[in-house]
Amino acid sequence: MDFTEEQIERYSRHIILPEVGGIGQAKIRRASVFIVGAGGLGAPAAMYLAAAGIGKLGIIDDDVVDLSNLQRQVIHHTKDVGVHKAESAREKVNLMNPDVEVVTYHDRLMAHNAREIVAGYDYIIDGTDNFASKFLINDLAVLTGKPLIHGGILRFSGQVMAIRPRESACYRCIFREAPPEGTVPTCQEAGVLGVLAGVIGTIQATEVLKMILGIGRSLTNRLLTYQALDSEIREVKVKRNPDCPVCGDHPTITDLMDGEQRACAL
C-alpha cells in the first residue's frame, strides 16, 4: 500500500474501520470521480471525497462564482466571487488534501465533449441544476458504462439515486424525458434551502465511496427523497425498464444529445 506515516495518520479513522482498512484506503486512492458542476451538490461531494483521499477528482463547470452562490456552495469563499468555479474548487481541495489530483474543466459538459472528458474517470457525480444536463449525464453514464450518482435539490426537498448502468434503473427508466420548457419553475425562481445541497451532495459522495469499497447496500434501484421541512426521508423502489429508451432492450438513444431547457422542477 506504501502509505507514508503522515497519510496513515491522516486516514487513520478510515483505516481502523474493518470495512475500510488499509486495503480500502488504497482502493479510495486508486479511484477517480468526475463531478459535473462545482455548485451546491458538487461542493460537498468534492470536499468529502477529497478529505477521504480520493485519487483523482475531475471538476467541470463553465461558470464563475457569484455572490448568490455562497449561501450553499461551501467550497467557494467570498474572495472567489468572479473566479472560475472549477478553479476555486481546485484551490480548496488542494489546500485541504494535497494528495488529491484535481483536473479542472472550465467548460460546459455537452454531447460533443462528454465522452472524451469522462473517459479518464471511474465514477460520475451529477451536481447539475437542470433537466437537460441530468438526462445528458444519465445517457453518458449508460453509454460509457460508468456508475453515476444522481442528485437533485429544490426548495426544501432533495432526491438521490445510484445508477449502475444496465444493471440497475437509470434516470431515464424512471423519468423518461425532461418536462417541456416553461411548464416548471427554474431553480432561480424556486429557491433552495442551502443546507439541502450539503445533505444530498454528501449522500452522493457516500454512495461513491461505498461503491469504491464494495461495502454496504447501494442506493441502486432506490429513489430516496429527503424533505427537510418534515424531517422526512422516503424511498421508492425503482427498477430497470426494459422499454427504457437508453438502457432498455431496444434502445432508441444510441448517442448523446444536447437539450436546451433549464427548468428544474415539477
Partner: protein, 92 residues
C-alpha cells in the same frame, strides 16, 4: 376503495400543506379524478392534455411503479398507498 395518496413537497401548496391525502377510487385514474375534485389543480400537474401521466411524474402503488402494473388502469385495494414522485432537477 379508500387509499392514501402521498403528495410530494412541490404539490403540497395544492393540498393545504398536507403530505398524505385520503382518496376514494377503484383505479389510479379514478384516484386522480377524486383528488382533483378535493384539491383542484392537482390533475393538471400530473397529467397532460390527453389525460396521460406526464413523463417526468412517477406514480407508485405501494412500492411498485404503476408503469409496470396496468398504468392508470391499475386496480386498488383498501388501505393501498399511492405515492407521487416527481423529478427534481436543481443542484447548483
Amino acid at each position: 376503495m379508500a387509499v392514501t395518496v402521498r403528495i410530494p413537497a412541490p404539490l403540497r401548496k395544492l393540498t393545504g400543506g398536507s403530505s398524505d391525502v385520503p382518496a376514494q377510487g377503484a383505479t389510479i385514474a379514478a384516484i386522480i379524478d377524486n383528488i382533483e375534485a378535493s384539491h383542484p389543480g392537482l390533475k393538471a400537474r400530473l397529467c397532460d392534455e390527453t389525460g396521460g401521466i406526464r413523463p417526468f411524474v412517477n406514480i407508485y402503488l405501494n412500492d411498485e411503479d404503476i408503469r409496470f402494473l396496468d398504468g392508470p388502469d391499475t386496480r386498488l385495494a383498501d388501505g393501498d398507498l399511492v405515492s407521487i414522485v416527481p423529478a427534481i432537477a436543481g443542484g447548483a
